[in-house]
């Protein structure tokens, strides 16, 4: 499959980002804003603005790509609900990419010649709790070496070889504080997903006819934080409702 007009969006982490790519001009129109909150307000005006600048109708978009987590639950749901509704409204397919995949690709695209002795790439995404969302990638092939997961710094350190690993993501400063000397070398500049990179990834995936494997489904990596009510409910004998 080949797509000609691709819209990508990301609201899962500390940015609200939109990019549109048109094959005709092979040009991107991109709007990337760092922000911690307010994604639900900014996203749709950003999208209409980007489409306006590209002089293409939103209805003509033929592929929609969104990040689907791991990240802030509310944030990733803003992106996913918008992307799915855009899919419904345009009839275009909707693909989901994980934040860790996109950040890894971003790093591989721009830092291939840096720290070449590092064979593994560790992506660390903030959970705003004690643990980290993380995923390991092969530095050469870009292929994941494990599934994305949530774990504490000790779990993660067990899975990496410090001297052969380089780490990126919005949680590396906190990881460095926790892991101390055991932390691998870190690279700044890969804290939020680039929607342009997402478009390139989607093109590659589509070229291999593998789009169906990238569903626009949420990747929470954590159950809803609730426990069944602790207040003991008395039994009502024989009640059938």
């Amino acid at each position: 499959m080949k797509f000609k007009k691709i819209l990508a969006l990301d609201t899962a982490l500390n940015a609200c980002s939109v990019s549109f790519w048109n094959e005709d001009s092979n040009a991107y129109v991109t709007d990337r804003r760092l922000m911690k909150r307010g994604h639900a307000e900014i996203l749709m005006p950003q999208i209409t603005d980007v489409m306006h600048k590209a002089s293409v109708s939103l209805a003509d978009v033929d592929l929609i790509v969104t990040t689907c987590g791991p990240g802030a639950f509310t944030g990733l749901r803003i992106g996913l609900s918008s992307a799915r509704a855009l899919g419904l409204a345009t009839g275009a397919p909707v693909a989901g990419l994980t934040t860790t995949q996109v950040l890894a690709r971003q790093c591989l695209e721009s830092c291939a010649d840096q720290a070449q002795d590092k064979t593994s790439l560790l992506v660390l995404v903030e959970t705003k709790r004690k643990d980290f969302y993380y995923q390991l990638f092969d530095r050469q092939t870009g292929k994941p070496q494990c599934d994305a997961a949530a774990g504490n710094s000790a779990d993660i350190l067990q899975q990496i070889e410090q001297q052969h690993t380089i780490m990126i993501g919005d949680a590396i400063d906190r990881f460095r504080k926790e892991a101390g000397n055991a932390a691998p070398e870190g690279l700044d500049g890969f804290e939020t997903p680039s929607p342009e990179v997402m478009i390139r990834m989607a093109c590659d995936i589509a070229a291999q006819d593998d789009l169906a494997a990238y569903k626009a489904e949420p990747v929470y990596l954590r159950d809803a934080d609730v426990s069944p009510s602790k207040k003991e409910q008395r039994i009502l004998e024989g009640y059938k409702g």
Binding site: E41, I42, S81, L88, E237, Y239, G241
Partner: protein, 355 residues
């Protein structure tokens, strides 16, 4: 004019298409009751996840049921508050995306206003009418003067009435959501006088000069009765009697508070020929309450209206209708509107957007 309405503010994922001739062309409501029942109440994060999982399919089904294309629509309306914010955002973003794609007007609907205007969809209620809005999240008495114009007479100081029902029912060992179960088991109470004598309950706020409510004391009193029942499994007869007494207390409270509100409404509009008292919200599904309020209205010689049960609880049709009423008066919202966890009817015209 046809409008798609989307509702995701609590535990129902809903979408409907309604036209300006008051035809409900489709009305899909997906309830998440099962997702929440093990927790004994609506869990916001679970609700938000379920809304995301089902939202696009619910909209698709509503479009298909109505035999509509997006191009046939005149506007898209969605609840933008008040409610559980994570869920509200799902419906709001869905509506914004469809509106943006098809260049349709977007209308940010206040969930409470949608309940308040439902009697105009179902019963052609003429303005101004007196409204009792009672649900799991809200309990208010207000005069609906016109679209967008509400005079609040009173509201609850603590629990909402539906919440008081559900929590008391839970204490009685009834399954979630307890309101309907409480009503059912109360109907099996045979000796009403004995029930009232055995399980006396307070009628909070009765006789107060305002139109406010308070239900937490009633809830606590009901719980205390349950605690005082013999150890071991609760007996159905006991609970039937307690449930009857509970419903009676609620009806007494409502009679007192609504009677005061009717007086206030009549004082404000002494010459009104079309005076009517309307009940909306999930609690209006309770038969004992409906009957009590109906006779109250009769005694005060004003007409009584209550929407059908399916339109009392949360649904998309009421959102679509509120959209139609607002759009007909020229209201349209920009796509940068924020979802609002709190959005009292008195502040209806204050919307917030990103700066």
């Amino acid at each position: 004019m046809k409008i798609l309405g989307i509702e995701t503010s609590c535990d129902e994922t809903a979408a409907a298409i309604v036209d300006s001739d008051k035809n409900i062309l489709s009305n899909i409501v997906l309830t998440q009751l099962k997702d929440h029942s093990v927790f004994g109440g609506v869990v916001p994060e679970i609700a938000a996840r379920a809304h995301l999982d089902h939202m696009d399919k619910v909209v698709e089904a509503a479009m298909k049921d109505a035999g509509c294309d997006f191009a046939d629509l005149d506007a898209i309306a969605a609840t933008c508050g008040p409610g559980l914010i994570g869920g509200v955002m799902i419906g709001m973003m869905t509506a914004k995306a469809i509106a943006a794609t098809h260049q349709l007007p977007f209308i940010a609907v206040n969930h409470l206003e949608a309940h308040a205007l439902t009697p105009r969809l179902t019963d052609n209620a003429p303005f101004p009418y007196l409204l009792l809005l009672a649900s799991g999240g809200h309990t208010q008495l207000l005069i609906v003067e016109d679209v967008g114009q509400y005079t609040l007479l009173g509201g609850t100081l603590d629990d909402a009435l539906g919440e008081c029902f559900d929590k008391s029912a839970k204490a009685m060992g009834l399954p979630f959501p307890g309101g309907p179960h409480l009503e059912k088991i109360a109907q099996s109470c045979t000796d009403h006088d004995a029930a009232l004598a055995r399980f006396p309950l307070p009628t909070p706020m009765k006789g107060r000069k305002n139109c406010d409510f308070s239900f937490s004391g009633l809830k606590t009193a009901a719980r205390t009765h349950v605690q005082n029942l013999p150890e071991g499994a609760l007996k159905e007869d006991d609970i039937a009697a307690l449930a009857y007494s509970f419903e009676t207390a609620v009806c007494n409270v409502l009679t007192d508070r609504c009677s005061r509100a009717i007086d206030a409404y009549k004082q404000r509009y002494p010459q009104l020929e079309t005076a009517s008292f309307v009940v909306a919200g999930g609690v209006a599904a309770n038969t004992a309450i409906r009957n009590t309020l109906m006779s109250l209205a009769e005694n005060h010689k004003i007409s009584f209206r209550v929407p059908p049960v399916s339109l009392c609880s949360d649904n998309g049709a009421m959102i679509a209708w509120a959209g139609i009423e607002n759009y007909a008066r020229g209201k349209e919202d920009p796509l940068n509107i924020a979802a609002r966890p709190r959005w009292p009817l008195e502040e209806l015209h204050k919307t917030t957007a990103a700066s």
